[in-house]
Subunit: 341 residues, 4 copies
Amino acid sequence: MLSFENDYSRAAHPAVLEAVAEANNHLYSGYGSDELTEQAKAKIREACGQPDADVWFLVGGTQTNQVVIDTITPAYAGMITVASGHPNVHEAGAIEFSGHKVLTIPHHNGKMDPAELDEFCKTFYADGNYEHMVFPGSVYVSQSTEYGTIYSKAELQAIADVAHTYDMPLFVDGARLGYALTVTGSDMTLEDMANIADVFYIGGTKVGALFGEAIVFTKHNTPKHFLTRIKQHGALLAKGFVLGAQFDALFTDDLYFKIARNANEAADRIREALHAKGYTLTFEAPTNQIFVTMDQPTIDRLERDVKLGFTEKADDTHTVMRICTSWATTPEEVDQLIELL
Amino acid sequence: MLSFENDYSRAAHPAVLEAVAEANNHLYSGYGSDELTEQAKAKIREACGQPDADVWFLVGGTQTNQVVIDTITPAYAGMITVASGHPNVHEAGAIEFSGHKVLTIPHHNGKMDPAELDEFCKTFYADGNYEHMVFPGSVYVSQSTEYGTIYSKAELQAIADVAHTYDMPLFVDGARLGYALTVTGSDMTLEDMANIADVFYIGGTKVGALFGEAIVFTKHNTPKHFLTRIKQHGALLAKGFVLGAQFDALFTDDLYFKIARNANEAADRIREALHAKGYTLTFEAPTNQIFVTMDQPTIDRLERDVKLGFTEKADDTHTVMRICTSWATTPEEVDQLIELL
Amino acid sequence: MLSFENDYSRAAHPAVLEAVAEANNHLYSGYGSDELTEQAKAKIREACGQPDADVWFLVGGTQTNQVVIDTITPAYAGMITVASGHPNVHEAGAIEFSGHKVLTIPHHNGKMDPAELDEFCKTFYADGNYEHMVFPGSVYVSQSTEYGTIYSKAELQAIADVAHTYDMPLFVDGARLGYALTVTGSDMTLEDMANIADVFYIGGTKVGALFGEAIVFTKHNTPKHFLTRIKQHGALLAKGFVLGAQFDALFTDDLYFKIARNANEAADRIREALHAKGYTLTFEAPTNQIFVTMDQPTIDRLERDVKLGFTEKADDTHTVMRICTSWATTPEEVDQLIELL
Amino acid sequence: MLSFENDYSRAAHPAVLEAVAEANNHLYSGYGSDELTEQAKAKIREACGQPDADVWFLVGGTQTNQVVIDTITPAYAGMITVASGHPNVHEAGAIEFSGHKVLTIPHHNGKMDPAELDEFCKTFYADGNYEHMVFPGSVYVSQSTEYGTIYSKAELQAIADVAHTYDMPLFVDGARLGYALTVTGSDMTLEDMANIADVFYIGGTKVGALFGEAIVFTKHNTPKHFLTRIKQHGALLAKGFVLGAQFDALFTDDLYFKIARNANEAADRIREALHAKGYTLTFEAPTNQIFVTMDQPTIDRLERDVKLGFTEKADDTHTVMRICTSWATTPEEVDQLIELL
């Protein structure tokens, strides 16, 4: 059965699997202290244009959000996100589990408005009782967002500027960073991201890896004893070299971005077909997630042949469904889907 | 200078102070294991009409909210409140500090709508991804609310009914319970509260005590080893008998409600004067907190002679101010305030 | 019935109660922002000989330990105490509840050996795997200890020196500080304590107050946004002025130390009688806690007339019992006890 | 260079890698809801002889310990381990991070004595102040232990019996379970383990997997909403099927135990050679970890050609070193090591 359900249904890009298999021919020391990991970090630093960046590999996205947010947010403070942000909705309270409140402002097709961020902080500090409240301590956005939308360089810089005004680091969740940066007409590069964000992660799980996310601290701002904090969160992989091997492969010959681009091209073709066939896109978004508002008969018909993702009920008779492409989507799969539409 | 700033500016009712002084003539065992505490608990059980209720005394409101919510909410779950609820806004993240997300629904002049509570839970369980989300685990309301409004018996019962449908206990924060239950025309008694809520507290700090809140578990539902949980939260008072002495005094000869009524009567007189003088009440509320939308010249004039509470900016030229009476407000103070208005 | 069970069985010294009653004649703003609290802080700063010290009032001992330790100990670190330390044994896991491991070294009649502290830290940093372990982050001792013993000035300084070598603050729990500093032959003053410790607290609960502990940060080292951290722990008293009133009284005319001395004098008399009558003191300790190893018939005989504290079984036929005097112990009570012995 | 440093230096058994590569030919749904995971669980249930056991796959050992211990231990309680237990020493405070105290009793070459466990609990409940203390809430042991020793069936049953007497579940950390169960002369099978323990895990990371641990709840005792708790801990792997594929391979044709046996056989040969050559084994232990007390010249000589693991300083001139074999150790590597000894 055809599936456009999500972007983590296939194990890994063949080059990644080969890198892991090749690693099997050697013995490595544990916990990421090996040379393969070092090599992967060096390649990422180079790709970021930041020879001094500090790179760490973790296993998964929620884990990465929890570890980063807990360690960059002061104990008296919370993390600000738009209400639709992944840590606010789909991480089972992982942030609160580590003791921090998630502070929310409205989203606009998944995006944060820097003016609203500023307003939120201004209101906080203007409140005579602010010492009885949770301080704004860090800012979280994702690139791309939960809605598949992306920030332009100027937009992200504006958010960073506001964050810094209130002495907060900006953390960018890049679970789908590859897809965000390879959109047709994107004005942002990995170097831009590294310049703007205080810390971000390059998602591997959804872009070709078996698993793995690469955290990049770009401003000599790694939390003290970060390895111990990772361990404390139960997030330190014994065979760190398995992460190193994967990211080494992904950052060799630009593989990460090449395969990411594939997802966007597939999505572009599907979007075109949807428009041509009169479907209602819930909103415009340029990356690998397409949200379509469909009536039930259409859904029933499609789901006989293709797995789609449920997002939410739009009204009594319509539902927002997600069509998600990935690095692994083939032209044939796109052809088949378009035919079915 | 006259003050209507809040309801915790004066130490304690004279009878409470006398009870503490009288306790000084005896030696008591520690941590609430004394006979004075037992006597106070018995009086509260009787006032609640629940011979089996389990009563505990803590020191303050945020502490009580933290201990109760943490212990009645499952580890995989959050606590639902209206967005204006005290634990969501003015407790510095005490709930999240103990690991639980605060889940919010809109408020209506501070009150929760049972239909919206139901909708929230229904939507949660209808979401295919709900296992990745924070479960609704308990419901928090306050009586009276942050806006001085109150729930009728039927309204509170409706909330309890929804909560129980989803297997959640209803916790009622009664920091100002005395004021809520003695409003002219209130249809709810302490017995009603004890029948409806699964756990609630009777606020002493704002109603005549030096400090102290009496938690009442009404359904044989005290969390296991609750004393240990209190201690773990750093909330167990060594000289528990000082709490016992105070609540014993407050629940002797109906003192608690008599002095609470005084605050409402004072507030009624002030509300009448405000209406007569053409002030704009921000909204109608019957208890000891009066919210008035004032322009800056009025505020400046009043604040020369009387301390009021700042609530929030209403617009560029108006501010919502709070006039707060208490058990200690004298008719003379009310007279003076009315003259100033 | 006579009681030497503990030092928190009587409400408060009359002067403290009067101060609270007097406070009742005024209106104060909340949360310790009042002038009475400010005045009490000034008196404590003066008594400490530290005009710049930062003073805070909390309600109880476990609460104070939890708030201070959580806020001075880095997130990747634990707090070091001797195994018999109160937070390790009798605080229901309050430190771990706030996320920190309690690291233990042996005690010697309740006291920490600076050489063993040094050895613990040296061993930690010598371990190749130390990044996988809990860092030593702060040092906790109490003065007097759980065993009623005290540190000399040189001993405490030696512990502070080791702590500082490893970049750890020294926190001194002074629940019984009054008793420790007024021992006959004590070589330490409150000024010495303020010079040596990075943060300590002056216990009120056990030395004349209804409740209350005064935290003193002596090195411009108050944790950032400490008020918010207190609130987050549920530990901020609404009527902070009730704490202010009490400590203002205790630090007027040296009352705190005068009444503390009474406990030691009473204990000295009892110790003398115990020696004279051939009792076996479990070990020598100069403060208000006397530990005596008794056989069961003796215990049975004494407990007909006087409440003592159980400490632990010494062997199959002997038990360690505690005789505890306090600021409130009268010469008559001591006479009666001696007669019974 | 030869390495006997640890048992997680090589990526994975070829059959495991093949299984992952084969998984790459299919699309799977996320978070362990796929058929491959289901198949692996079925094989483990069968190997355990428990058709009703509940099996879950996590990524790493500390993570598994944190998630299991946090979810099986009541909030008012701690987890009991011997002092040398991994969560007490080498998990960076992961248990305390989730709010629980680690309660310790002495170890005997890494093992727990059931009589001492009983004594600990008896003493706890006999203490008049036990409600102010951390309750014993769960028991943790590992099979094999940190010292490479193992429990016999009777010994483990005795610990389980004591645990159950005090209403505590017994959790067995099986990071090296394969090695423990395949020791020459072992009297325990996986079925025995499943019968005795309330919950245990089958370690994959150290026995042939890239990563992964299989938790088995054997008594219909899975914590409520366990998937949500896993997610909350940041421990839910998006591509759960990668875990499923590995354990499916490991539990096909008894692979897990076959490759585990290899490590023990290699260790047996090394032990024999050590004895023959007059080395001092620190203590006797039958599994894949050999602890040898060596003088510095010997260590210096060996480390020119082979990586060993440092354990601890024995005295000023001797050090305890660890020689660790694994599923991947070849006869040639053993030959080379023996020659060097």
